[in-house]
Amino acid sequence: MRVELREKEARLFQDLKKALAESKKLAGNCLA
């Protein structure tokens, strides 16, 4: 993976982990 993309991914997962720690879930699952 390109360095720039890897940095974006790292930022994304940092945010996701923080949100998960805060709320125990991230989003709904509107399967339809």
């Binding site: 998960l20 991230l26 699952n29 339809a32």
Partner: protein
């Protein structure tokens, strides 16, 4: 201890072939479909991304694949696909119209160890048949009964519009009688064949009243009565204002799920017909990390017309598919504007 699992899901359309021709279907025409080997490689592609996230970010994952169509049971290789998904560590489910589920099919579904089957039921008999075709209601009910009789976790999903909202109470009672575990309600997205029904979508007031009523049914019912609609999340807040600035609920697009169409096209959501790649041509991990469309869905500042300043943004973000469908009806290609059916509009 890695913390709370990241529920990541793919809604996977294996085919656009269907034995029904529902008036409100979001599909508009048939596209080619991937063969078994292509699907196996595609499952590997998603699986590789998840392994990477676990290894590099110490994420605890709870990944799931939800196979649908068209009608997924029209695929002769559906059970091989379910087997492959399980072998790759995914929990899997089926989303079906239920009409092809006779006793033998229900038995095979049970043996496939799916987590659940979601069956579409769009009203009581007259309403359902007017939307999905004469005779379909009884066939769907038979399918549900066959699944429940074999202990397969079964739930009902209804696409709500003015055409069927009057059936809600009767449907909750029917769901209880059938012995399903849950009944869920989704709003009609006027796209595909369903674009002809845009005048049947609910108004803001009707949406608000509908979710109030749903809460009343839930209070009285012995089964789960729910809506996974982002706007329903606001109704659940009962006036409480979320403190988070990050997505912690609401629309899953860009946050915790994607759709893969029958030909491999990847979209943020199936009802949001916005291709961002093809699973046969891209690294899924790179796409999830780099897609500008997915990033726009993750960032409050991308949104406009009120959603960006809404106090409920972190738990809602509106239905992006409905926002896009209404914008397209006005000739605009905009998926980040206000949800036109939002009755809450809670600016901060």
């Amino acid at each position: 201890m890695k913390g709370t699992p990241y529920d990541f899901f793919v809604q996977w359309h294996l085919t656009e072939r269907c034995n029904l021709r529902c008036r409100h279907c979001y599909q508009s025409g048939r596209v080619s479909e991937l063969g078994y080997e292509e699907i196996r490689r595609a499952i590997d592609n998603v699986s590789n991304a998840i392994r990477g996230w676990v290894t590099e970010y110490d994420m605890q994952m709870s990944p799931s694949l939800h196979f649908t169509g068209g009608e997924p049971l029209l695929r002769q290789d559906i059970f091989e696909i379910l087997h492959c998904a399980r072998n790759c560590g995914f929990s899997s489910s089926l989303m079906s119209n239920g009409t092809l589920i006779d006793g033998d099919m229900a038995e095979r579904i049970k043996e496939a160890q799916v987590s659940d089957v979601q069956v579409s039921l769009d009203g009581l008999e007259a309403t359902h048949n007017s939307l999905r075709g004469e005779g379909s209601y009884q066939r769907t009910l038979k399918g549900i009964r066959n699944l429940v009789a074999r202990g397969v976790e079964t739930n009902i999903n209804l696409t709500v519009s003015r055409l069927n909202m009057g059936d809600t109470g009767g449907l909750v009672r029917l769901a209880e009688e059938l012995g399903v575990s849950a009944i869920a309600f989704s709003r009609l997205v006027p796209t595909g064949r369903g674009s002809k029904l845009s005048n049947q979508t609910l108004s803001r007031v009707e949406v608000s009243d509908f979710y109030k009523k749903l809460r009343e049914y839930r209070g009285k019912s012995r089964i789960v009565v729910t809506s996974r609609d982002p706007l329903a999340a606001i109704a659940e807040m009962e006036g409480e204002i979320p403190q988070s600035e990050m997505p912690i609920g609401g629309c899953a697009a860009g946050i915790s799920g994607v759709t893969i169409a029958a030909d491999g096209t990847i979209m943020p959501c199936r009802r949001m017909d916005l291709p961002i790649g093809n699973i046969g041509e891209v690294s899924f991990r790179e796409l999830w990390a780099g897609s500008p469309v997915l990033w726009s869905l993750r960032r409050r500042e991308s949104y406009h017309d009120g959603c960006n300043s809404c106090r409920y943004w972190s738990v809602c973000r509106g239905c992006r598919a409905i926002a896009l469908a209404f914008a397209r009806a006005e000739g605009k290609e905009d998926y980040l504007g206000a949800d036109p059916q939002c009755p809450y509009g809670g600016k901060s």
